[in-house]
């Protein structure tokens, strides 16, 4: 069975390591915070100027001056800090953030990503995504394998305006975990009950399958 959004987040959380500074994008990536493995310490960065994001507040503690990059009200953990946007992007551009998790409309087999604009239809803007993908040491994309019309989001070449080139390292979808390598999308894991054939059918770009592909461990 294909994973739901929470399960995608749960699988990505397994990539976290003790001491990591992590930037989580809007959507599925935000959910990763709910699955940080016990026993490790991860600090979440929000590009609007917060290091040390805490849980969502109680109803009585909602603060208009304390939000995340998705403009949701949050809290700040003990040891958190606030700063301006230039400092925030110095953290990102300067390579101080260990891992970036973000969503995408399309990813190419070369690691290009498109996530901010559908010409003539939708323009949200790139926000911090272009800065993040151009500078992060490690980038994981969290997405469904296909779009609403059932078309693959893992392509030979992106068709939509790009957010960044040659930058995506890993992709966790509802069907699979894949690594972007020189030759294309290397299949690492399958969602429980999903066959290699189903993944093949849902992947337009070059899929590399070596040996037995294990199921994800959730």
């Amino acid at each position: 069975m294909a994973l739901n959004k929470n399960q995608i987040a749960q699988r990505i959380a397994q990539e976290l390591q003790d001491g990591y500074y992590v930037n989580l994008g809007i959507g599925i990536p935000t959910l990763v915070a709910n699955y940080i493995p016990q026993g490790i310490s991860v600090t979440l960065q929000s590009e609007n100027g917060l290091l040390g994001i805490g849980p969502f507040p109680d109803k009585d503690n909602v603060d208009a001056d304390l939000i995340n990059a998705g403009k949701q009200t949050v809290t700040a953990l003990p040891g958190a800090s606030f700063f301006d946007s230039a400092t925030s992007f110095a953290m990102i551009r300067g390579g101080h953030v260990d891992l970036t998790v973000l969503g995408a409309f399309e990813i190419s087999e070369k690691g290009d990503i498109a996530s901010w604009k559908i010409p003539g239809k939708m323009v949200k803007g790139m926000g911090g995504a272009m800065d993040l993908v151009a500078s992060a040491k490690n980038i994981i994309v969290a997405t469904t394998h296909t779009n609403r019309d059932g078309e693959s989001k893992l392509l030979k070449n992106c068709t939509l305006p790009l957010t960044g080139v040659n930058c995506v390292k890993k992709i966790v979808t509802d069907l699979a975990v894949l690594e972007v390598c020189e030759q294309g999308f290397k299949l690492l894991e399958r969602a429980p009950g999903v066959t290699v054939d189903e993944i093949k059918k849902a992947t337009e770009g070059k899929l590399i399958i070596e040996g037995e592909i294990p199921e994800m461990n959730l």
């Binding site: 590009e47 909602v62 603060d63 606030f82 301006d84 790139m126 926000g127 272009m130």
Partner: protein, 229 residues
């Protein structure tokens, strides 16, 4: 030195149609809502506005957009504003979208006297069109230029008559850099405190960058997505 002005009307003196304005805030957090309201009432138009976002349809910069007072927007993310998207897609509004960190740094550079700089963000994308590309340390970078404004309009929690400013939580965001990049910088605050009360160790924006201080009449401080446990 006393930089305190009486009210919003006095604060916006000299802002004219056709000018370039910077407006602080991220989403609706830390936006100068009293000045925005006054600009909406003023009918000043043909403005170029530099702001990370464009408010929502009926609050913040969204109100100026709705009334067609803005000719050009320089921003990074406008997803929360349907009217913005409509004007953009129909070509009524001139829009320059910047990667958020590039936008922040262009403003910082403008205030810091740095005319241009190189960043990797946007290389290989449509943001790179028309920009000088240069390789540093094996990685491709784009040359980006500084931004300044006729007026920078920011919002803070506290200020004193000397113009020293303290922000609250994530309401700092673009305000600190914009303070440096305005020919005239106006700060609207929730509270004016006596000179000497702010601990010099804890001041976010030193008074030299600020020309006018006033206490905002009303702060609605609207929340875009109130999210609780």
């Amino acid at each position: 030195m006393n930089k305190i002005v009486k009210n919003t009307q006095e604060a916006i003196k000299g802002i004219k149609s056709g000018m370039t304005l910077m407006l602080g805030g991220f989403g609706l957090c830390g936006i100068p809502e009293n000045v925005i309201k006054a600009l909406a009432d003023s009918k000043i138009n043909d403005l170029t506005c530099i702001s990370n976002n464009a408010g929502v349809d009926d609050f913040g910069l969204g109100v100026l957009l709705r009334d067609k007072q803005i000719r050009k927007m320089i921003a990074s993310y406008v997803g929360e504003n349907k009217e913005f998207e409509r004007q953009f897609l129909s070509g009524e509004l001139d829009v320059e979208l910047n990667p958020q960190g590039t936008l922040a740094e262009r403003i910082r550079a403008g205030g810091a006297g740095i005319p241009a700089f190189y960043v990797p963000a946007g290389y290989g994308t449509e943001v790179a069109i028309g920009k000088e590309v240069r390789e540093f340390n094996g990685k491709m970078h784009l040359m980006e230029t500084a931004l300044t404004a006729d007026f920078a309009i920011i919002k803070a929690k506290y200020a004193d008559a000397a113009g020293n400013v303290v922000y609250n939580n994530t309401a700092n965001n673009f305000n600190n850099m914009m303070a440096m990049a305005g020919k005239i910088t106006i700060v609207e605050v929730e509270e004016i405190v006596p000179v000497g009360e702010l601990n010099p160790n804890h001041i976010h924006t030193p008074g030299i960058f600020i020309q006018r201080v006033f206490k905002g009449e009303v702060f609605e401080k609207r929340i875009e997505f109130a999210t609780t446990k």
